[in-house]
């Protein structure tokens, strides 16, 4: 870490409560639930991009319009799963990285909270698009614009998440960041974004391969010139091309990572992930270039290998985070412990003026009434000067022979004078305190 930055790098205190579960278990939950969430996000984003593409192509070839409709039907289901599955990793990262995550959220706050309305709008657009397919049959430009708008939002949202996830790793930047745009331009956001987009298209390609290939899927009812093999080959080729591209963008992501979290453990995890993807690439290549009847041959193996790759890449992501934040977490733990001990010390020796609650004072009769007055009344009432409420002398003139009346007024005041704010009631005063108080008030001349 840069020595010069140390003066402006905050070391906040952590939440002084133990973690709800053992840390390794929380990490496993975080990594797995995050991957489950992101897979459906991939399908939602990849599905809408492909829908848009197919529908535009469908302007000339009706078969592609049908294909677009078939893909569109999957978006609305996948997006619902993407949202609900997002809650568990959100909870887990909140628990594990409370200070880091929330600080990044606050520093990019307006854009962060905009995720809610933006995604809501994009979701509504996907429904509108799906349910107006036949109604807008003759107004394709409008219909395509609807899905295009949704795609734009879907493409933008990951940038907000990535900016946050990136910013949380760098407390040394928190003092210099001014809003979302400045956090967006920190190194590594865009390479990771590109990495994510390619993954989305690759995952969607693999998903559609299964989706259109299912036995129960009545492909022939929908399509007349396109064959099952055509579509499968296309989506498989997409998955292959995008995976190939990942082999180029991956190293860029790794190289642009700030060095503070890069360690051998990270390199090993990432390289193993990449290595396991290699046979999957080979099987996909064989299937795409081989005879049509053999296209399904290695699909299960491809999925198995890619699943392991995704698990390793997801773990690598966590390893980097853990590496990068370890020293700062240690400092934060030390500060938290120090604060807890001085706070405990201050509790044992409270400052004098704050120490005894009024009702426990053992001062003499007048003294206690005065103390009750000081704590409860003096903010608004002075002896002979009007402040918020009337002066004490005026109370005396009204209630000098009606102590009971004064007591009931204090417990439950009414509204008497125009121009004065209404007095709050004090039903919480004990009878003993109230006696002392009214005695004290009426003793003032």
């Amino acid at each position: 870490m840069n020595i010069l930055l140390q003066a402006t790098t905050p070391v906040p205190r952590d939440i002084p409560l133990p973690l709800p579960l053992p840390e390794p278990l929380l990490v496993v939950l975080l990594v797995i639930s995050f991957l489950a969430h992101i897979i459906f996000v991939n399908l939602m984003l990849g599905g809408s991009v492909l829908t848009l593409w197919a529908q535009i192509k469908g302007l000339k070839d009706k078969e592609y319009d049908t294909l677009a409709y078939e893909i569109a039907k999957t978006i609305t289901v996948n997006k619902s799963l993407a949202v609900v599955l997002g809650v568990a990793p959100l909870l887990s990262i909140n628990a594990l990285y409370t200070v880091y995550f929330y600080s990044a959220n606050a520093l990019t706050g307006l854009m962060w909270i905009s995720i809610i309305p933006l995604v809501t709008i994009a979701f509504l657009l996907t429904y509108l698009h799906k349910y107006t397919w036949h109604k807008l049959e003759n107004n394709k430009p409008l219909h395509i614009s609807i899905i295009a708008a949704a795609v734009l939002v879907f493409l933008f949202i990951p940038l907000i998440f990535l900016t946050n996830i990136n910013l949380m790793l760098f407390p040394e930047k928190w003092g210099t960041v001014r809003g979302f745009m400045s956090a967006l331009t920190l190194p590594n956001v865009f390479p990771r974004y590109l990495h994510f987009l390619c993954a989305s298209l690759a995952v969607t390609g693999l998903f559609l391969f299964w989706y259109v290939g299912r036995k129960r899927y009545p492909f022939e009812n929908y399509f007349h010139t396109l064959t099952r093999y055509d579509v499968k080959k296309k989506v498989y080729s997409l998955a292959f091309a995008m995976s190939l591209f990942q082999f180029m963008i991956g190293p860029v992501v790794l190289l642009t990572l700030p060095s503070k979290g890069v360690k051998w453990n990270l390199i090993v995890v990432i390289l193993s992930g990449a290595a396991i993807a290699l046979p999957a690439m080979y099987w996909m290549w064989k299937a795409i270039t081989g005879p049509p009847e053999l296209i399904d041959r290695h699909y299960r193996k491809v999925i198995a290998a890619m699943t392991i790759t995704v698990l390793l890449m997801g773990s690598g992501r966590h390893v980097y985070r853990a590496n990068a934040l370890a020293p700062h977490k240690k400092l934060m733990a030390a500060r938290t412990a120090e604060f807890e001990s001085i706070s405990a010390e201050a509790r044992r020796n409270p400052p004098a003026d704050d120490a005894p609650p009024v009702s426990n004072t053992t001062a003499g009769k007048g003294g206690r009434g005065a103390a009750v007055f000081q704590a409860n009344c003096s903010a608004c009432h002075r002896q002979d000067q009007q402040l918020v409420g009337p002066p004490v002398t005026e109370m005396v003139s009204i209630y000098h022979d009606n102590e009971q009346g004064l007591k009931s007024w204090i417990k439950a005041p009414g509204k008497k004078r125009p121009g004065y704010p209404q007095m709050p009631g004090f039903p919480q005063l004990s009878d003993a305190d109230l006696n002392e108080l009214t005695g004290y008030i009426l003793s003032i001349k």
């Binding site: 704590a375 903010a379 039903p427």
Partner: protein
């Protein structure tokens, strides 16, 4: 203290959470918990009304399907996103409290998440298989059974959520037990659950009636039957809702006593509480009147007539939520953390040394005459800004002007005398945490605000200034000291 302070200086921070949360509750109660059983009941009615040769009455089934489609689209977009939005907004505005709650109730929320995932999957299956299920009677009956199952599931989700709402109201127990069971044993848990169930059903029914007026043409048999069905549904649940509302209404002051040893009778609470006593009979009688009308004269019912009771019913739920939130004050986590996000147990330290010294983000640590206003601004941000703005909703200037007279110049000395004692009279206010110097700086800042109207930007636009006492340099020194102490 330890988080950059996100702050909306016009809208008010709490208002953001409230807005998102109330939309979510409306959708959850009115379009899921109360609506799905209503829809399933109608679907079942369609089968029993069908002729011998039919599986279901097609026109009727299509109408019910379209209603479900509305609920499906809204719950899986706005409903789901506002649910996530509660997390997002709470993390922005109350990071210390939501962070603490997650440390303790992670497991509870995890279980709730599991039921939530199941609910979403079920709702998708229920809606997306609707058309296919119409092919055979057996499939249709299975679909209806599925609907009842889904209804039960949505209700269970609510059972858990209400307990999570409840644990924040049970102060003493937070410090002792740290467990979700407090949520279930809270004095208003059962009244709340008992209230929410029929209230949701009434909401579902009245919303269903509103949709009927949109999806059916006037004078058709389907419309008449559907309006009458909704009316019967509402009339069955409204008396239960009324009784439950009264029980809940009477349980609230007790919850207040449990919560704040000192607060039963504050004016502000009394105002809301009184409002409830008008709204309960008002809203219930409105929905009952429209229902009886729909039973007797179904042909004359129009969209506009149903809209008013529908809005009243949603308002009825909204005001209950507002009162429930009020019960929590002055704490955000009962007995543990005040609504300014400071722990009660740290108060002696803050009183002694001031809060600025321990704040991670502040531009001022030592207060001097030159930096007094800047210090006051930081004190305001740290101890007031969760609920007050400078010049927007619930602005600090306005609340003081309400006390001392609108438009009159605020007197710093009076403010200084008032603030340390305000929690005695206004028991929903947390005590002022800082020391005397900080108090003076705050009073000067408030007076300045009255004169200049200058806005206060949050961390999301202004960024943060790191307190040198809490920087990495200082932490490194602390580490070195700890290490040499060990030797």
């Amino acid at each position: 203290m330890d988080f950059p302070m996100f702050h909306l200086d016009w809208l008010n921070d709490r208002f953001l959470i409230a807005m998102i949360a109330i939309i979510h509750v409306f959708i959850n109660h009115g379009l899921a918990v109360g609506f799905i059983p209503y829809i399933t009941w109608l679907e079942q009615k369609g089968v029993s009304m069908a002729g011998a040769a039919q599986i279901t009455d097609p026109a009727w089934d299509d109408m019910v399907y379209r209603k479900m489609k509305v609920a499906f689209i809204i719950t899986t977009t706005l409903g789901a996103m506002t649910g996530v939005g509660i997390w997002f907004s709470a993390a922005l505005i109350s990071p210390a409290s939501i962070g603490s709650l997650i440390r303790v109730f992670y497991f509870a929320w995890f279980v709730e998440w599991l039921t939530f995932v199941t609910e979403v999957v079920l709702i998708m299956i229920y809606f997306l298989t609707w058309k296919n299920a119409g092919r055979t009677l057996k499939a249709k009956l299975r679909h209806i059974r599925f609907g009842w199952f889904l209804s039960l599931f949505s209700w269970i989700t609510m059972v858990i959520i209400v307990s999570i709402l409840g644990f924040m109201m049970d102060p003493g127990n937070w410090n002792q037990h740290h467990s979700l069971l407090n949520g279930f044993t809270n004095p208003i848990y059962l009244p709340q659950l008992f209230f929410r169930t029929p209230a949701a059903m009434v909401l579902g029914g009245i919303f269903g009636m509103l949709l009927t007026t949109i999806f059916t043409s006037r004078g058709t048999a389907v419309r008449t039957t559907a309006l009458k069905s909704a009316a019967r549904w509402i009339l069955a649940w409204a008396p239960v809702a009324l009784v439950a509302a009264c029980i809940y209404y009477r349980a609230m002051p007790e919850a207040m006593r449990f919560n704040m040893s000192t607060a039963v009778g504050t004016m502000e609470f009394a105002q809301y509480y009184q409002l409830l006593s008008y709204i309960i009979p008002g809203a219930v009688s409105l929905v009952v009147i429209i229902s009886i009308w729909a039973l007797l004269r179904p042909r004359s019912i129009r969209f506009a007539f149903v809209l008013a009771p529908c809005l009243a019913a949603f308002g009825f739920l909204g005001i209950f939520e507002r009162v429930r939130e009020f019960i929590r004050k002055p704490y955000i986590i009962g007995g543990y953390m005040y609504s300014n996000l400071l722990r009660e147990e740290d108060y002696p330290l803050y009183k002694r040394d001031g809060i600025l010294k321990y704040a991670t983000y502040t531009g001022v640590v030592e207060i001097t005459p030159a930096n007094r206003l800047a210090a006051g601004r930081d004190v305001f941000m740290l101890s007031c800004s969760r609920c007050h703005t400078t010049n927007g909703i619930n602005s600090i200037v306005e609340v003081f002007e309400r006390v001392y007279g609108a438009g009159k110049p605020l007197d710093e000395n009076s403010i200084e005398a008032y603030i340390p004692n305000m929690h005695n009279g206004r028991t929903y206010m947390p005590p002022f945490p800082g020391n005397t110097q900080e108090l003076k700086a705050l009073a000067a800042y408030i007076r300045q605000l009255q004169l200049t109207g200058e806005p206060l930007g949050g961390a999301q636009t202004e960024g943060v200034t790191v307190n040198p006492l809490n920087s990495m340099d200082a932490a490194v020194e602390l580490m070195k000291k700890n290490e040499s102490d060990e030797k």
